[in-house]
């Protein structure tokens, strides 16, 4: 009996000790971020921000959709969240959060001057801090010049010449959902559905990692994959093995003759009734400055081989070496959210991500 009691006391002590750190850190300089970037609070640009401002950055990471769910639950409860800033790698999720009133509009001359118009919410509820494109990577040994010349738009991936040669990320991932929402926007329901079905017929394997997709192309398992461009940047700057993978594949920018390559943003908005509003605003303004939008590892875009949303900023060297390309500015970022649910339905109907075995 006494042993059980001792155990209980030990348990309560442990719990109190566990809670203590959360209670202890109470200075003015804190910024709490819900972030769908996976690099924890040790990210170089966050550290640089902390050093420059003295504000401690604390991060809770997760998928953008999970964090949206958390934020929704927070605000619907007490009209307040434990997060000050919502940082998401998808414009659709940011727009949904904004439209549900989870994010507040910001009036900032600095932000409006620094971040180009296509990359921020017209109502100022979220701001893009970096840009990632999603395009084709292929293996030059297994794809002929002729085949390559016929592959110019995303819809060309539905061409039967790619049957059994294409690998994709599964339907559940936000990258896939957003990419197919752009097909819906540009092609309309009917054509987009036909293209999706054609792509499903061509896919030989679904791989739930962009890096693994590129490795599969390099090894010759797939001839063509669709990935975010910065994974190529990471491989180019990785280990010897990674560099060998990078050297044996090529990047091809899609939709250059039409509306431009599909892209998404890594953006953030200030959460309604944020306890540390000033710090959150300071974070956004800091990250939007040209010198902090650079291509170096200490900058927000540069740390992940992404592109700056500030037109004055310098491009990352590796990304610049991928060649010039046009972004798809026709499909506005703030409309992504409206097309995503339809895209999920379309992917489900086409059995995207399912494979008969």
């Amino acid at each position: 009996m006494n042993r059980v009691l001792v155990g209980l006391i030990a348990l309560v002590t442990m719990l109190v000790l566990g809670l203590a750190p959360a209670a202890a850190q109470e200075d003015a300089g804190v910024l709490n971020i819900y972030s769908s970037r996976h690099y924890g609070d040790l990210e170089a640009p966050f550290v640089a921000f902390s050093e420059a401002t003295g504000i401690e950055v604390r991060v809770s990471a997760g998928t953008p959709q999970d964090l949206l769910g958390r934020l929704r639950a927070d605000i619907q409860r007490g009209d307040r969240s434990i997060a000050d800033l919502f940082l998401a790698i998808d414009a659709g999720v940011l727009s949904l959060a904004a439209d549900e009133g989870l994010l507040v509009p910001v009036e900032s001359e600095v932000l409006n001057a620094n971040i180009a118009e296509p990359f921020r919410d017209p109502q100022g509820r979220w701001y893009g801090l970096s840009i990632r494109t999603r395009t084709v990577v292929y293996n030059p040994d297994n794809v002929t010049e002729e085949e390559l010349a016929s592959l110019n738009e995303y819809r060309d991936l539905a061409d039967p010449i790619w049957r059994g040669r294409l690998c994709m990320r599964p339907a559940g991932h936000i990258y896939t959902i957003s990419l197919f929402s752009s097909l819906l926007y540009h092609l309309g329901q009917e054509q987009a559905t036909a293209v999706t079905e054609g792509i499903v017929a061509n896919v030989s394997r679904y791989i739930n990692s962009d890096t693994s997709l590129i490795r599969a192309v390099a090894a010759g398992e797939c001839d063509v994959v669709v990935v975010n461009h910065y994974y190529m940047g990471r491989l180019a700057n990785g280990s010897e093995e990674d560099k060998a993978v990078f050297d044996s594949v090529r990047i091809k920018w899609m939709n250059q003759d039409v509306n431009g390559v599909f892209f998404n943003i890594n953006g953030a908005g200030i959460v309604k009734n944020a306890a540390n509003y000033e710090n959150a605003l300071r974070f956004l303004e800091y990250m939007s400055q040209a010198e902090n939008q650079c291509g170096e590892p200490t900058c927000f875009p540069g740390s992940n081989y992404e592109l700056p949303t500030n037109p004055e900023a310098e491009l990352n060297e590796t990304v610049a070496s991928f060649g010039a390309f046009t972004l798809d500015l026709e499909y506005p970022l703030w409309e992504y959210g409206q097309y995503q649910a339809a895209a999920v339905s379309m992917l489900e109907a086409a059995n995207f991500g399912f494979r008969e075995n």
Binding site: M1, G18, L42, V93, R215, A219
Partner: protein, 594 residues
Amino acid sequence: MIKLAQLFSTAAGRYDVSSSWERHISLPPWTRLILPLALVGGIMLPLGALLMVVFEIDIARWTHMWETFLPRALTNTIFLVASVGAGTFIIGTAFAWLVTAYDFPGRRWFERLLLLPLAIPGFIIGFVYVSIFEYAGPVQTTLRGWFGWGRSDYTFPNIASPAGLVLVLTLVLYPYVYMLARVAFREQAAVSFEAAQLMGLSRFKAFIRLVMPLAYPQLAAGTILAMLEAMTDYGTVSYFGFPTLSERIVVLWSGEFNPTAATQLAFLMIIVALMLIALERRMRGKAKFYQNAGQGRGLRRQPLRGVKRSAAITACLALFGAAFVLPVTQLLAWVIAEVQSASVNIWNENFTVYAGNTIFLAGVSAAIVTFLALLIAYGLRTHAGKGKRLSRLLARGVTLGYAIPGAVIAAGVLVVVNPIDGAVTDLATAHLGWSSSTYLLTGTVIALIYAYVVRFMSIGFSNTDASLEKITPNMEGAARTMGAGWWRILSRIHAPLVRTGLAAGALLVFVDVMKELPATLLLRPFGMDTLALRTYFLSVEGWHRSAAVPALAILIVGLIPVLLLMRVGEKSVDGRRDYSSERSQQTLRSNDGG
């Protein structure tokens, strides 16, 4: 001719519990009914909260789901759960019997080593196996290099296939059966087994007809744990691109940004789980086996010779190699490559802090779950009055959490906790000196631990319940007639008697919390990362070498409870053996005298 059943009932002792007798030993109502049911209510609240959306059925959405993925997700789930169930039952039971009833070189080592895969989360073995055996992996690349093959020149079993998935999940989940089966076999009275052999039954027949039925509660509990793990798994099935109900729930949850359909699908999954549990209960039937604790002398091991001995060693080596050595070797190789590559800054990460967080969350949750499980299982065991069936049914409700994906439970916890969090925080600020602007429940680990308790109560409860079932109600009877109160009975008699079961349950909860992903993702406080989360983030980014570092750390942390588990099991069994052998010697002596 004596029938086997009669032999068994005289040897091991079988009691029919008459309700009048049970009433005689009943405890005061608040301990046997009110407290347990209040706890059950608290645990089921988050699930109940989700019930609110279950009835808002969107016909068009369901029609669409039914016409598209639902039938396949359903058949996939049944296929996976059945295959993993069969695989883990066969492997777990067979190896537990092999190391308990037979002796061969290395047995003592294998007996422990075979438990180790318990410490590895499924998604880690999943991504390790896929990267070893996929097209771009070392095995196929080497083969292509040797023979100069191209893509279409050879066929290689596809690791990212349903069969590969079943293999991987069986390899990580068989220890659930193995562990409980081993405890059950060791605790079993050797008397009945030896009597059966005297009756002319072969060792194998005695095993099938006597040992397995006697160990049934634990074998079933272990297999059901493994099956529910397979059913709610997300990390591994999504990595293998194999859509199950659980995988679809997460996709619906995150892909459509609307929890309603996901929650409804989760309830469909609960129905599948309930059917499983009901099936097990039905098979168990009314049979209740009480063994007289203390009389069990461990089985005498039969030494194996010749071919059988080599076969036993080979089988153990193969299983341990596949489930542990191979993945760990690959992880080690990645870690070494990571150390040698200068380009990655993985070493800046604070792994001791992640490990500390992991141990803290797992330890606190395991302790709470075990304590609550004991209160509930014990209270309801002694309740014999009106509503007995209903209260038992409700108690079984706490096992539902195990059938629900962590993300859905996290959502339920938020629904329950959010409305009161503001008031609770204000109260704590006013009276308890809470000085943080953070919410007391969702801003700290409290909400997260609540979710763990809901999710993993099943493990604690079924272990405790199964162990308590083996204690004869005579104990309560005797203690009650001597005037002992419920807490005294529970802490002095039952808790010590079932401590092996309790410890097993607690350690399983520890390991499960350590491996948990989705609820941890959603509910953890700011700045709190665990080893499993870091592994997951790095592995989905495709950084296998970097992910290997926290993955190996999980393994090291996970080995602690697994090693403890072995010690707990052995201590109790050895202690009993000493006692009984002493007594059997006395018996022998008195026989000589007579």
